[in-house]
Amino acid sequence: MESIRALLPRLTLRQLVVLSGIGVVLGAGGIATAAVLIFLGARGGTLRPAPEQPIAFDHARHAGELGIPCEFCHRGVETQAAATIPSLEQCMFCHAVVGKENPEVQLLAAHWEEGRAVDWVRVHRLPDHVRFVHEAHILAGLECSTCHGEVPTMKVVKQVENLNMGMCMACHREMSASLDCATCHK
């Protein structure tokens, strides 16, 4: 004990208690302030710049210039929870013939030849405790662009809406959809 005391400044017990109290108050206040600032400043936590994809797929070319409907490739969107990423086989329905001189198409064809899946970087992602079903939203008449923005104008797709709970709630209120917690939360 003597050796530890030698390291500390000489304080009376009263001074020690007061200093400890000030420390606790400042610490708790700081944490609370930081939490409030983080909460207020949060934008859903998922709004990020457009990621670099392993194959530079051009949505503006396919969905914009060529006018291919979203659901032509994202075939699960009307029937299941996930909109689904198209299989390579589906890409190759066209690209076995079309655009073979394009280096990105050649990269795609190489994956197809080798039977190797493409590791796409996910652009939109909701937290694990949310159950979002595309089918219900599309059948309710929502446009893809409501959540995903004007993808036909995006050369590289990025997230444009924050997709936080406030956005979901606002839309559900407007559309008179269910506001029960269990509707969306697992």
């Binding site: 936590g45 299941q80 929870a81 996930a82 689904t84 990423i85 299989s87 390579l88 994956h111």
Partner: protein, 735 residues
């Protein structure tokens, strides 16, 4: 080590904590990746379970399962809750369906042998393979198709092909049930297995039929047995099991009676004798049936006292069983396993089944009921071809072309049958299977067949529940290999041989779909035929209707006088043991050994896994100086022998040894080749005199000590009274 003072110690601690906080609170990498499929699975809902009803991959008695798939991968097999035969339950073998589907040793593409006698195969494409098949299978050679017990549309297409070629179709079943089928034909006058209504019976008298483990339709009978024992509002049914080696059913019986093999028929007739002599059942019940099989005079020879000596069953026991059976009606008498694998097998079976007519339980609830038969377009699984026809192939092998599918006679037929030599000498051999097997190792052309979870099919249930039961099989995943279904291959080559069009479809999918729509397309008139077809697939099949009571013949077409004494291969002094091969619940007759789950599933009675063992009476073992795990050679009169470890069991009679079948595979997968020994290979070619079926329990044997001990991999630990894990043998595979 330098001395650490306080100052540096505190600096170090503060630094470590600070560093930890910085790293721990850093922004996490939230980049998430998502993979696209190369080939999108059909009907999948990404990340969600999709269930498909289809046929079980590993049982042939007609079991419908539902397979849970996620993103096109089969994950788990469950019983189809609506299907009447298994009602949501499965046999243990069915569970292994997903394991065999993703087995790394599946045949992946067609292969051609470069030269006879070598193991040098080259990979070829399907177009070349079908060309080779079409060129070599038909005339001028004699075409012989050997399959397992196929049925449904596949069997129709196979018969179309073989009729076109004028060839023969042999159906191979390792522990063949020809004798059972013949005895059913004789006593009830039907081809289809009747409905043994165990669930409503008050007494079951079973001669060697392991109906809870392997006999005919064990899942259905196990559920019925549950009702038999403790169904609501009924008295507990009584089970007597008479057999030369205790089976799983025997271990559940109220009374287990040892019998010398081959005397089952005599004991059954002796029970009938007591019932008739003592008038335990009125003559109006049995009079006509007994008259048809020879009358009281024929039965007179089977007094209990006369039968007791040779059979090993005491006269007292026979009388007790007769009294119990007669007084607990409705009751059922059944026969199977070693009781029918004798030189008098089918007559012994007829004698046992006759008991049902003696006590009047035929056509009664809780007795033996007729099944209504399948629709004509979906035939029942074909009955096995007797062994004698396989043995006869050796005569003209060089002029034959042999096409083997879903069968492995080179493994299952005794060496004495000379079938391997037949394959070596045959003009052309093609084998189609999911895995390499002994037969395919002799083939000139090997075709990979799809797994049952990858194909279309239909099946009618033989041992149905009194209704017409048809099941459907659909692919639950896209094929894992470049395999094709047997039906698709036949549909591709048959038009090469004939202009007659029996099945106009080009694929099994179409053939099965059109057959189903023709049969059941208007089942629900409010929806279209195609929607009815989808509904059949969703439910897994169709089960309706009932049998007419007059489907059984009015009286048996059999004579008591035809029952002969059994004969055995090998004389008793030189070969002191009766060799009783038996089928285990999990590995079966060998084809399932490829699945490690099934190899590792313990035998219910001995708990042995992964290997072959020799069950022997403990006193006999002591007399011979053998203890558990001692290796012995089991030598048959043929001179053939196998090597396995001793398992001393008090429920094996002194002059009997029991050996499970299914081990000792030389070809297959990485987990079955070299495990255990193949007892079928050493059997003598004894046959049932009435049918030519292999009498696979009519061989005697002797034991020869090897002088080594190898601990058996069991789940029980007799050496330790506390039954803890001390000394527990653990099976470790090399993989």
């Amino acid at each position: 080590m330098p001395r650490l003072d306080r100052r540096h110690f505190i600096i170090g601690v503060v630094g470590a904590v600070g560093g930890g906080l910085v790293v721990g609170c850093a922004k996490p990498d939230r980049k998430s990746r998502v993979q696209s499929f190369v080939l999108a699975p059909e009907q999948s809902l990404q990340g969600q379970n999709v269930w498909f009803a289809t046929a079980s991959a590993h049982v042939d008695w007609g079991e419908s399962v539902v397979v849970r798939t996620v993103d096109g991968r089969a994950k788990k097999v469950e019983g189809n809750p609506e299907f009447p035969i298994n009602q949501g339950k499965t046999h243990v073998r069915s569970q292994a369906g997903v394991q065999s589907l993703y087995h790394p040793d599946r045949l992946k593409w067609p292969m051609r042998r470069r030269s006879r006698g070598s193991d040098d195969f080259e990979q070829i494409g399907w177009l070349s393979a079908l060309d080779i098949l079409a060129e070599n299978f038909g005339p001028p050679r004699d075409s012989i198709l050997i399959t397992g017990r196929i049925g449904g549309t596949t069997a129709r297409i196979a018969s179309w092909l073989m009729n076109s070629l004028g060839g023969r179709h042999l159906v191979y079943e390792p522990l063949e049930t020809t004798a059972l089928r013949e005895s059913i034909r004789k006593v009830f006058g039907v081809e289809q297995t009747p409905h043994f209504d165990i669930g409503n019976a008050h007494y079951v008298l079973s001669f060697g039929a392991d109906f809870l483990g392997t006999w005919v339709s064990p899942v259905q009978y196990s559920m019925a047995y549950s009702r038999f024992r403790h169904g609501a509002g009924r008295e507990r049914g009584l089970l007597t099991q008479i057999e030369p080696r205790m089976s799983m059913t025997g271990s559940n019986a109220d009374r287990w009676v040892y019998i010398n093999p081959g005397h089952e028929g005599a004991v059954a007739l002796s029970i009938a004798h007591v019932i008739v002599r003592e008038g335990l059942v009125g003559e109006d019940v049995w009079g006509a049936a007994l008259e048809a099989v020879g009358g009281r005079d024929a039965l007179a020879r089977y007094a209990p006292e006369a039968v007791a000596g040779a059979s090993g069953v005491s006269a007292e026991d026979i009388k007790t069983m007769a009294h119990e059976f007669a007084s607990h009606q409705p009751g059922i008498a059944i026969a199977g396993g070693p009781a029918l694998a004798q030189t008098n097998g089918s007559d012994a079976g007829a004698a046992v089944l006759l008991l049902n007519r003696i006590v009047g339980s035929v056509g009664e609830a809780g007795g033996v009921l007729p099944n209504p038969g399948p629709p004509r377009a979906v035939p029942l699984p074909m009955g096995p071809t007797p062994y004698s026809e396989f043995a006869a192939l050796a005569g003209s092998a060089s002029s034959q072309s042999i096409f083997v599918y879903d069968a492995d006679p080179a493994y299952g037929l005794p060496e004495a049958a000379g079938f391997k030599r037949t394959l070596t000498e045959a003009g052309f051999v093609v084998s189609m299977s999911t895995f390499m097997n002994e037969t395919s190792s002799y083939a000139d052309l090997i075709l990979p067949s799809t797994h049952p979870f990858e194909e279309w099919g239909d099946f009618a249930v033989d041992a149905a529940d009194g209704r017409q039961v048809v099941g459907y099989q659909q692919p639950v995943v896209t094929p894992q290999t470049d395999g094709r279904s047997f039906g698709d291959v036949l549909l591709a080559i048959t038009p090469e041989f004939t202009d007659d069009v029996l099945v106009s479809s080009e694929t099994m999918h179409e053939a099965v779909r059109l057959t189903a729509i023709n049969l059941f397309g208007d089942l629900d008139p409010t929806i279209s035929p195609d929607e009815n077809w989808i509904e059949l697939l969703r439910r897994g099949g169709y089960w309706e209707g009932g049998a007419q009571p007059d489907q059984f013949s009015s009286s048996p077409a059999w004579s008591i006088d035809s029952l002969q004494a059994p004969s055995f291969s090998g004389d008793a002094p030189q070969f002191p043991f009766q060799l009783v091969p038996f089928e285990t619940v999990s590995v079966g007759a060998g084809a399932e050994a490829v699945n490690p789950w099934l190899q590792a599933a313990p035998d219910p009675l001995t708990t042995v896994t992964w290997t072959t063992w020799v069950e022997i009476n403990p006193h006999t073992a002591e007399k011979l100086g053998l203890k558990r795990g001692d290796l012995v050679d089991v030598i048959a009169p043929t001179g053939e022998k196998i090597r396995a470890g001793i398992y001393d069991s008090p429920v094996v009679p002194p002059d009997v040894i029991g050996v499970p079948v299914g081990g000792g595979r030389e070809q297959g997968g990485r987990w079955d080749v070299g495990q255990g020994a193949n007892v079928l290979s050493i059997l003598s070619p004894q046959v049932d005199s009435a049918t030519g079926a292999l009498a696979w329990a009519a061989t005697r044997a002797r034991l020869q000590k090897v002088g080594k001990n190898r601990e058996l991999p069991t789940f029980e630990f007799f050496d330790d009274p506390r039954n803890d894990e001390k000394g527990a043998p653990v099976k470790v595979t090399s993989e």
